[in-house]
């Protein structure tokens, strides 16, 4: 309860800024400064959202599935690669530059190729999401592995721990903060990645729907889709945060300690 109150107090500036922006948008449209075919008013976007709700939900569920599957595969891939690169220095030197190169390939350029190879179904979309999401997670994990205190590893060695035990008792848990930081970025990439790949070929999903309404010049509907994409992304990021709290209960305790100390100082 108290925590919730604390949260509201911390979030009110963001809430105010958001409301102010909404008001500005409404004012611009209502005053006629910007014609409605260029910028639909907030009310009309809201109406489009409500009227199209079932269609939007259908397409959103497709995009969300692609994003989540892609993210899961991406994380699994990142995990394996980071573990291998951590274990064998040679592998790091061999793979890491290639990994960086994959990130410089423009998504827009590769999506049509993937469609060509894999057809118009979910496969090329999921592949694209995997390509965009594995990188932040892999880098986070790899950095985390490197930052483990060597004395902690020595301590476990002095207790005759095996390599596997050292990995699971020390390395993996201490890399979790970086892992979740990377995962949060990846989660935000995932939905966008799915939508972009849908633009470039497919029959369903928010990206497909978006190109359709754009061609019909239904900008209110288009804005409704954009807002939905934002909502789906935020939900996914929220889910990551939720998982982080569950996976790292000790971190929560530390944050609470720090917050309490901070409060004392300010008083």
């Amino acid at each position: 309860m108290r925590e919730r109150l604390e949260n509201t107090r911390r979030n009110w500036p963001a809430l105010c800024a958001f409301c102010l922006l909404l008001l500005l948008w409404w004012g611009l449209c209502a005053s006629g400064l910007v014609p409605s075919y260029m910028l639909p008013s907030p009310q009309s976007v809201f109406l489009a959202f409500v009227n199209d709700f079932p269609t939007l939900m259908y397409h959103a569920s497709i995009s969300a599935q692609e994003a989540v599957y892609g993210l899961l595969i991406g994380v699994a891939l990142a995990f394996v690669m980071a573990a291998v690169m951590d274990r064998f220095q040679v592998m790091e030197r061999a793979i890491f530059p290639l990994m960086v190169v994959t990130q410089t390939i423009p998504t827009i350029a590769i999506a049509p190729v993937l469609v060509l190879w894999m057809g118009f179904g979910m496969a090329p979309k999921i592949t694209l999401v995997v390509i965009t999401t594995f990188f932040p997670v892999a880098v986070g994990l790899l950095e985390g592995f490197k930052e483990v205190d060597p004395d902690e590893i020595n301590l476990l060695r002095s207790m005759r721990a095996s390599r596997r035990q050292i990995f699971f008792h020390v390395k993996l848990p201490s890399t979790l903060p970086q892992f979740f930081a990377g995962l949060k970025i990846s989660a935000s990439y995932a939905v966008v990645g799915a939508v972009i790949s849908e633009w470039l070929g497919g029959f369903e999903g928010l990206g497909v729907y978006m190109t359709r309404v754009k061609k019909a010049y239904a900008f209110d509907k288009m804005f409704a889709v954009i807002i939905l994409i934002v909502i789906v992304s935020l939900l996914l990021m929220g889910l990551v945060d939720f998982l982080r709290r569950i996976a790292m209960p000790w971190n929560h305790v530390q944050e609470k300690n720090a917050a309490e100390q901070g409060r004392h100082v300010r008083m």
Binding site: L156, S158, M159, R160, Q165, H169, S174, Q254
Partner: protein, 257 residues
Amino acid sequence: MTTSGKNNAALCLSAEHVTKIYGGRTIIRDISVHLDEGELVSLLGLSGSGKTTLFQILSGLSVPDEGRVLLKGEEMTGQPGRVGYMLQKDLLLPHKKVIDNVSLPMVLRGVKKEEARRAAEPYFAEFGLDGTQLQYPSQLSGGMRQRAALLRTYLAAEGVALLDEPFSALDMITKGQMHAWYQDVMERIRLSTLLITHDVDEAILLSDRIYLLTGSPGEIRHELQIRPPRSGRKDFNLTPAFLDYKREILEILEKRG
């Protein structure tokens, strides 16, 4: 049997003629030390005299270029996992609850988590840690964390512990309290201990015997028995006898330093 000698106590851990060369430089040369059952022995030396190198060899983490390490008469050169090893940093894993940190050595030996917890539980009261079992290390004070680390070392050891400057990161008052507490707890648990320190007072206050390790490469220059029994050393550091020991040690250290 609070003071011990070779005659009336069993030999516990010993290093024989140990030499370590690191990148062409001799760090320690021909060092022989021994620790008897239930004894507390300090290795006192200035920084750079190779104290930590010797400890790594004694713990089995590092292999000496010459010489060997014996545990209860059995060779254990280069075999970690036989003796407890505690560093200045408490190295409690932040993601494990205190009880899981403490019972980690057992878990690593293959004991089930719940069983290891049960086995560690009775020691919490003994070590003044009751009530912290399910807390995380970040919730403990510095002194408490050192105690928890010491308990973990105790549970890792086959009755032998190597402590590498365990109290040197604490403030003076906490350190004094830890010394008093440590003397008290050692009376009961009888852990054979080899202690590294650069604090002369600490060495005299806590030890049965002191080795002076000096020079570069480090060598054992002197061995010193502290006469009064460990159990009766309350306020020992305020007596003339204590100062005599201190003078003797400082003279040797300054002469050879």
